[in-house]
């Protein structure tokens, strides 16, 4: 019999965190449902032997100081964000028991998104939602669950459906979701309903402990102080009025068929990390690139064309190949919506010196793959620079007479190889051959490492060779 009278071991004996002289009672008003619900939770934690592995999340609201009382790990969070914080905590410690304890303003107003989505992900947490139809701590303002006609500080003439809409039945809303396992609305009213609430609390916690299941328990509760009713009258109100709009009962229960989720994480040692994280680095064949170490390379390249022509990948292939020649390189795309279907361009720098600005304003080399690109960038090319343009798509010649010009029917050549998309590699082949920027052997060998689509490597190798051949035929 002694056990019954003893305070739960999941509560602190003395509430040292509570300021002021009184360290033995709670901050809750007489008749408030929080104290009773705290007790039901604490006793369940005792009985299941999980106090030490429990992490209790205090919300903003009257239960903001739940951590005064619960002798568990405690995290106090921002208004409405408990289910999000619970997500981060539970995923860090999948074996812990995480309780998200929230009021009606916290959960059903400012934190609506967080609870819906935590429920929808089926996070392995237990949510206790205390619905007393009013904001308690901030002083009796309207809650999303305030009843129609109910007077509060912010609905002084009574909640009007025209102005404030209807009270939200959160349990029913959450029950429409697939992932939640157990949802029930209970009340702290008379002894009988409280004893039933006790069973529900225990079931929900057990489901988390045994199956890592998401449960949502709505607890109708009294707020005598803000209702301006005596504790006994306010409980009567919960039973007769509040429970009339918010029907008690199980809203969803798939706990029997629910299979425990595997939430274990991979264990990856540091020696396995290079593979898991893809830290593979490029091979540099110092013998093959030796002739290029002596060259003075300082190219600023602008590559431009339609989205879909492989303009950006032309740039990355040049840069990556440059890196394999021990050059300093950088690649900067035009990015965002203009990539999708419109024109695309990128800036590539290849140099023996450290690269300052990665942006190419005045290219030494312009690669123009369509007419708008030639129109846009022709005048930017430095005097003495090089313009390579695809004359199978561009119907005019460049007008500049102070630059070198290569007209190459890259798209037509690629079509002959069987794939229009290889036009960009035809130009790569032509450029490195014409400027002797890099070792063709290294480029062909490395192409398989550089290209994402491995089935196109052979085609692109042929395209590079065709581009080089085109240049050699010009000479």
């Amino acid at each position: 019999m002694n056990n019954i009278l003893k305070k739960s071991a999941s509560f602190y004996d003395v509430y040292e965190r509570r300021p002021g002289a009184d360290k033995l009672t709670t901050t809750y008003c007489p008749g408030c449902g929080h104290g009773v619900l705290h007790k039901l939770i604490a006793e369940a934690l005792d009985d299941f032997g999980v106090r030490e592995k429990t992490i209790f999340i205090s919300p903003v609201g009257c239960s903001v100081f739940a951590y005064y009382y619960f002798h568990t790990g405690n995290v106090q969070v921002a208004h409405g964000r408990a289910p999000a914080a619970a997500t981060g905590i539970k995923r860090a410690h999948p074996d812990s028991v995480v309780i998200s304890y929230q009021g009606d303003g916290d959960l059903a107003a400012i934190g609506t998104a967080e609870i819906i989505h935590a429920a929808n992900r089926g996070e392995g947490i237990t949510v206790f939602f205390v619905n007393n139809a009013i904001y308690g701590m901030t002083g009796g303002q309207m809650a999303p669950t305030t009843l129609v006609g109910q007077k509060t500080m912010t609905s002084p003439r009574g909640r009007s459906v025209n102005n404030e809409g209807y009270p939200i039945r959160m349990s029913e809303v959450i029950a429409t979701l697939k992932a939640p396992v157990f949802i029930e609305r209970v009340m702290i009213g008379d002894t009988k309903s409280t004893m039933h609430a006790r069973q529900t609390v225990r079931k929900a916690l057990k489901l988390q402990i045994e199956k890592n299941a998401f449960s949502f328990i709505e607890v109708l509760s009294a707020c005598p102080s803000n209702m301006k009713l005596t504790p006994s009258r306010s409980k009567q109100w919960v039973k007769e009025v509040l429970a009339d709009y918010f029907p008690l009962g199980v809203k969803k229960d798939v706990s029997e068929e629910f299979e425990p989720k595997d939430i274990s994480r991979l264990v990856v040692s540091n020696s396995e990390l290079p593979d898991a994280l893809n830290l593979e680095t490029a091979k540099v064949d110092s013998e093959k690139i030796a002739p290029y170490r002596e060259k003075k390379i300082n190219e600023e390249i602008k590559v431009a064309g339609f989205g879909g022509q492989g303009v950006l990948s032309l740039g990355t292939v040049l840069s990556e190949m440059g890196m394999r020649h021990d050059y300093q390189v950088s690649w900067l795309p035009s990015y965002g919506p203009e990539m999708r279907g419109g024109t695309a361009n990128c800036s590539v720098k290849i140099s023996q010196k450290k690269i300052g600005s990665p942006l190419v304003a005045n290219p030494t080399i312009l690669i123009a793959m369509n007419r708008p690109s030639l129109d846009k960038f022709e005048n930017d090319v430095i005097s003495g620079g090089l313009i390579i343009y695809d004359n199978s798509l561009i119907d005019r010649k460049p007008v500049r007479d102070d630059v070198e010009i290569i007209a190459i029917p890259a798209t037509k050549m690629a079509d002959e190889l069987g794939n229009t998309k290889a036009a960009n590699m035809v130009i790569v082949g032509a450029l490195i051959e014409y400027k002797d920027l890099m070792s063709q052997e290294v480029v062909l060998e490395s192409l398989g490492d550089v290209l994402k689509r491995k089935n196109l490597v052979e085609l692109n190798q042929k395209a590079i060779l065709r581009g080089a051949e085109f240049i050699n035929n010009l000479k």
Binding site: L277, N278, T281, P333
Partner: protein, 350 residues
């Protein structure tokens, strides 16, 4: 050295994972989305967790939860998303939770555009949310630094139990450069204060609430003392050709890359110009600025914002040397020529 060619936005994730970060919570936004893409790819493969949150607010609160639980955790966004996260960052700072936030800044205000800007300087460097707090802010200017600072940020966050930002822009996030990977960290510092669902941590409490004004003032004073130590110990800056410089260009991130070329060009013309690049924005590199102010004729602050960095330069120099501003906004990036011409113009005037 062996290198991999990759995007800034990917490099910062690889650096974070090498630093032992195993949790990412975020929301997609251009031009930061590749960070989420890379985290979604690599977190699960390396024993971590990735959640695409329902909102920026949820994401930072998931970070709050994971940091409370003792994990090395990160999130990333761009201007509009960072504005939304500010509530959570304030809570992290108040509860002294270490976490890393990457901000790949885009054009603002409002929806603005997705081109690079530096207009989040004030909201990131000056606190940004409610309350008296500061975050440590690292400003990379290369893809290599995105990786390196992805690691460094976690060390600083844990060392000071404080949120750390990696503040960069659309260019650094989107560009690709070769990266040499650092060694992974061997062991993450023990966090005895965290809440881990264990016997040892069942008396721990993570909170930012202090009802009593005296208690909250003490907490604030403790935070200010911490920031003072950070200011003393963690200032980082790069100087370039400043030895005999009479003109100091100052700018961070992508701007410093452009300024470096501008300095080289001006030097070739015989102009005695150098560059100071703040690497930490908080703490602001006051020591370097003060030292250079002794011999400089003037400073030119170059930024892609409406004169935000320049406030810190002026506060440091306290009127001893003229400080001028050259800036572009809306996603336009100052060119080498613009910077060059601005210096020449100011030389004629001064």
């Amino acid at each position: 050295m062996a290198k991999q060619f990759l995007k800034g936005n990917v490099a910062v994730v690889k650096g974070a994972i090498l630093a032992g970060c195993r949790a990412y919570y975020g929301y997609p936004i251009t031009p930061a989305s590749e960070i989420a893409h890379a985290a979604a790819m690599y977190m699960p493969l390396t024993g971590g967790t990735f959640v695409q949150a329902e909102s920026e607010i949820a994401a930072i609160n998931m970070v709050y939860g994971a940091a409370s639980a003792g994990e090395r955790v990160m999130t990333a966004s761009s201007g509009p998303g960072i504005s939304l996260k500010q509530e959570g960052v304030s809570y992290c700072a108040g509860a002294e939770l270490p976490c890393v936030i990457v901000d790949v800044v885009r054009g603002g205000p409002g929806l603005g555009n997705i081109a690079p800007e530096q207009s989040d300087y004030n909201q990131v460097v000056k606190g940004g949310g409610h309350g008296n707090y500061k975050c440590i802010v690292l400003a990379p200017n290369s893809v290599q630094e995105m990786c390196d600072f992805g690691m460094l940020a976690f060390d600083l966050a844990d060392k000071y139990r404080n949120p750390v930002y990696v503040l960069t822009d659309g260019f650094i996030g989107q560009m690709m450069e070769p990266v040499e990977f650092p060694e992974p960290v061997e062991k993450i510092p023990e966090k005895s204060w965290a809440v881990k669902g264990t016997k040892e941590t069942s008396d721990n409490l993570i909170t930012s609430i202090e009802l009593d004004p005296d208690d909250l003032e003490r907490h604030n004073q403790k935070l200010q003392q911490k920031y003072a130590i950070i200011e003393e110990q963690e200032q980082r800056a790069e100087e370039y050709r400043t030895d005999d410089a009479e003109i100091i260009l100052i700018g961070y991130g992508i701007i410093s890359r452009i300024m470096q070329t501008a300095v080289d060009n001006l030097r070739e013309e015989g102009v005695k110009v150098g560059m100071l690049r703040p690497i930490t924005l908080f703490p602001f590199p006051k020591k370097s600025v003060t030292k250079l102010a002794k011999s400089a004729k003037f400073f030119l602050t170059v930024e892609m914002s409406n004169g935000q960095l320049i406030d810190d330069v002026r506060l440091t120099i306290e009127g001893n040397v003229p400080v001028y501003l050259y800036n572009r906004m809306g996603g336009n990036v100052p060119s080498i020529k613009e910077i060059h011409d601005e210096v020449m113009k100011l030389m004629r005037l001064s």
